[in-house]
């Protein structure tokens, strides 16, 4: 089943526990600057927006990679980087319009959010997100939920119009 990491910015409290959990899971240390998910905090406007790889259907990073090091997981449809194939050419970094893939100099490899597929396939950031601003859901259920949310809004509008 294709999975999707759903982000609800309106629920985010800017605690950055996701950044800590991500860096620990992938590097064994707490280092938000290395986290593959980043919370963008706009203090003045009180708006907090977590951003990470959206796992594009037509992923530019994967398409441009000269060594085919970025591959899609058949089950979850998320992309991961194969370290043994990545040569650190940074083409993917240039190609990604969202800044969701980066190169870490000491390793010389591209790194991106792979829904923790390279570890155990259980996204660590979601586990530590208390306000549920991050959820890991089946893609079709998420799409269905959004359809339902839209329908509910329409229902309220109809009620106002018809009553």
């Amino acid at each position: 089943m294709a999975k999707v990491l759903v982000i609800h910015p309106e629920r985010c409290t800017a605690c950055r526990a996701c950044e800590l959990a991500c860096s620990m899971k992938h590097y064994g240390e707490f280092n938000p600057s290395r986290s593959r998910i980043q919370v963008n905090i706009f203090l003045e406007e009180a708006i907090y927006i977590p951003t990470t790889c959206t796992q594009c259907d037509q992923a530019w990073c994967a398409k441009i990679c000269p060594t085919n090091a970025i591959v899609r997981d058949e089950a979850t449809m998320a992309y991961k980087v194969l370290d043994d194939k990545c040569v650190g050419c940074k083409m993917c970094v240039l190609a990604c319009p969202f800044g969701s893939i980066v190169l870490f100099p000491e390793k010389g490899k591209a790194e991106k959010c792979d829904h923790c597929l390279s570890v155990d396939g259980d996204p660590e950031c979601v586990k530590f997100c208390t306000p549920k601003a991050l959820e890991y859901l089946d893609e079709d259920s998420e799409v269905r939920m959004r359809q339902m949310a839209t329908a509910l809004k329409l229902k309220e509008t109809f009620k106002e119009v018809t009553v």
Binding site: T13, A14, C15, R16, A17, L20, A21, S23, M24, Y27, G28, E29, F30, N31, P32, S33, R34, L43, A46, Y48, K127, F128, T130, P131
Partner: protein
């Protein structure tokens, strides 16, 4: 050892030098970090008799071993120094993001010595350190300072800074970070101002490592899940924040009203957590690594008190509103925003205004000295005076020194409501006897965060105790004081103890440090810290005589309401408390106790 970065940065502002030093692992083990270790360093390095605003005092910014980790609320830092307000030890604790950022720059502690000739700020750019001129931001609010210094350094940097109040050495001055978070109490902002240090700016990308990552994460996740289940940390606190307490304490009849002249406020519901949630609240926010998110992002959308920011929290709401008899929520909120921007402790500032109001109403302060009437309940006067205080203008110059100095100047020190010259927080000790004892014995002066017996006296946690009774309160006070000293030192927020206990915190500390702590030892460390703070105070010239309460609390009964007729029965509790502490009759730790705690 894990958790710690193993490094202290010593900044000599007189000479303009910065030196990296190794953290002593034995000392770190014995005092954990933050409040405990910071106090030890201060105790070892300064003469407690030093003039707090002289170059000989030191200012320590301290983190704990859990600061910067996934331990829920592991984002605290503490400002430790000798207080110019009380003359005693000061340790003020704050959240936000600056504490972890200091650690990501590679330091556990920043120790500031001496005094810069001209205003400066410290720029921690990872492991590169620079003392930079701050004349462009001197005189600016904490918010403007943060914006300008970020533009000058790095947009993702975090900042702690003093406002105009700290620059003017106001004894109510605090250190603000991330705009809305405060290391509030005991006038720590004035010490920073006396050193001509406007701000610390940090941006770091270095890791914090723990000794046993797998076990540590499991312990963290267990705590996160426990906090999710607790109705307070998952429901009440995020929804209403701390001001949920306004109506609760008012119903009990010990919500200190109009400078402690009454125990109930008729306008309480107008400034309650429920009303805040219904009117000015935009959303709740968390500090770094916090799974509770009790902060209130708020906005007063229109009217003369229009503004936006964070707050009010319960204590600020009480001090600026209820203590001053002001029930106009937009005005109280505006006063709170002003305190944050000008860099003043809301509790000390609010009680100072309340003190001045009582002195004025009783005819002890001539109107000519103030320049206008200053009556309880006057919202305009409150907002006006807070701003005057922040800039130390006119009558505000004196009031910015806190309620004690105002009451003393006009010949009525007995009308100051506090202990060791520090103002009471938002519970009248006459109605909650444990708080009366806690205020009298707190090492940093009157404080609710040094042993919160309201837990047993109002919320029945872990057991119910009658707030009016004195029996058993000495024991509870001592236990809570020790546990609090432990929790503070780890780098976690005291608010986690809404949902978890020391037995949940200790595994995280142990797996982070790998130091071989036991739960029992952690509580012992708490007791060691409490006694060390006491030793500092004794050397500074304080004594058991300072463990007392104002005459109003000791002798005048609360005039009406549920706690009618109650006084603070300190004499019934203090001797037992000293005994339980292993102190002699005058409040001095015995040799045996000091030996037991490895302090002799």
């Amino acid at each position: 050892m894990g958790g710690w970065q193993g490094q202290i940065l010593r900044v000599n502002l007189t000479r303009g030098t910065c030196k990296k030093e190794k953290l002593d692992p034995k000392l770190a083990r014995a005092y954990i970090g933050g409040r405990g270790l910071g106090t030890r360093i201060l105790y070892d390095e300064i003469d407690p008799k030093v003039d707090p605003l002289s170059a000989n005092n030191k200012l320590i910014l301290a983190t704990g071993p859990l600061t910067g980790t996934n331990a829920s609320t592991g984002g605290r830092y503490m400002v430790i120094t000798k207080s110019p307000l009380t003359g005693a030890i000061a340790c003020s604790n704050s959240g936000g993001y600056i504490g972890p950022e200091i650690k990501f720059c590679g330091y556990d502690f920043l120790v500031f010595e001496g005094r810069a000739k001209t205003p400066v700020y410290l720029w921690l750019n990872n492991d590169k350190v620079e003392i930079r001129p701050a004349d462009k931001v001197w005189g600016k609010t904490t918010h403007e300072t943060e914006d300008r210094l970020k533009a000058e350094t790095h947009q993702e940097a975090h900042v702690c800074a003093i406002g105009p109040a700290g620059e003017a050495l106001a004894l109510t001055a605090c250190v603000m970070n991330d705009k809305h978070r405060a290391a509030g109490r005991s006038g720590v902002g004035a010490v920073m101002g006396s050193k001509n240090l406007k701000a610390v700016v940090a941006r770091g990308t270095q890791p914090v490592k723990v000794a046993r990552p797998k076990e540590f994460m499991a312990a963290c996740l267990a705590v996160v899940n426990k906090l999710k289940e607790s109705p307070v940390t998952s429901g009440g606190l995020p929804k209403y924040g701390t001001p949920i307490l306004v109506n609760v304490i008012n119903a009990h009849g010990f919500l200190p009203t109009r400078n402690f002249q009454q125990g109930q406020f008729e306008g309480a519901d107008k400034v309650s957590g429920e009303t805040i949630a219904d009117t000015i609240l935009i959303k709740n926010k968390g500090c770094f690594a916090c799974t509770i998110a009790c902060a209130r992002v708020s906005e007063v959308k229109e009217g003369k008190y229009k503004g936006a920011g964070e707050g009010p929290e319960y204590e600020s709401d009480w001090a600026l509103g209820i203590a001053t008899g002001v029930s106009d929520l937009p005005a109280v909120t505006k006063a709170n925003y002003l305190c944050n921007e000008l860099g003043m402790d809301t509790i000390e500032a609010g009680v100072a205004v309340a003190t001045a109001m009582e002195l004025f109403e009783k005819g002890h302060i001539p109107q000519a000295d103030i320049g206008r009437p200053l009556r309880f309940g006057d919202a305009d006067a409150l907002v006006w005076l807070i701003e005057e205080m922040g800039y130390r203008r006119g009558f505000g110059e004196l009031v910015a020194q806190g309620g004690y100095r105002v009451a003393e100047k006009y010949g009525h020190p007995e009308l100051f409501m506090g202990v060791k010259k520090q103002a009471f927080p938002a519970y009248d000790g006459r109605g909650a006897q444990g708080m009366a004892l806690g205020y009298a014995t707190s090492n940093r002066g009157a404080c609710h965060l040094r042993g919160y017996t309201i837990s047993v006296e109002v919320f029945g946690i872990p057991k119910k105790m009658d707030p009016f009774a004195t029996q058993g309160k000495a024991e509870v006070s001592k236990l809570f004081q020790d546990v609090t000293a432990f929790v503070d030192s780890t780098g976690m927020c005291l608010f986690t103890t809404f949902g978890i206990g020391a037995e949940d915190i200790y595994p995280m500390l142990e797996h982070a440090t790998g130091a071989g702590y036991t739960l029992e030892e952690c509580l012992k460390v708490g007791e060691r810290i409490w006694n060390l703070e006491r030793l500092f105070n004794l050397k500074a010239g304080l004594s058991g005589k300072d463990d007392t309460l104002p005459p109003r609390i000791l002798h005048e009964g609360i005039p009406a309401g549920p706690a009618k007729g109650m006084v603070g029965k300190l004499a019934e509790m203090l001797p037992e408390y000293y005994k339980l502490r292993g102190w002699d009759g005058s409040g001095v730790p015995t040799k045996a106790k000091l030996k037991e705690l490895a302090l002799a």
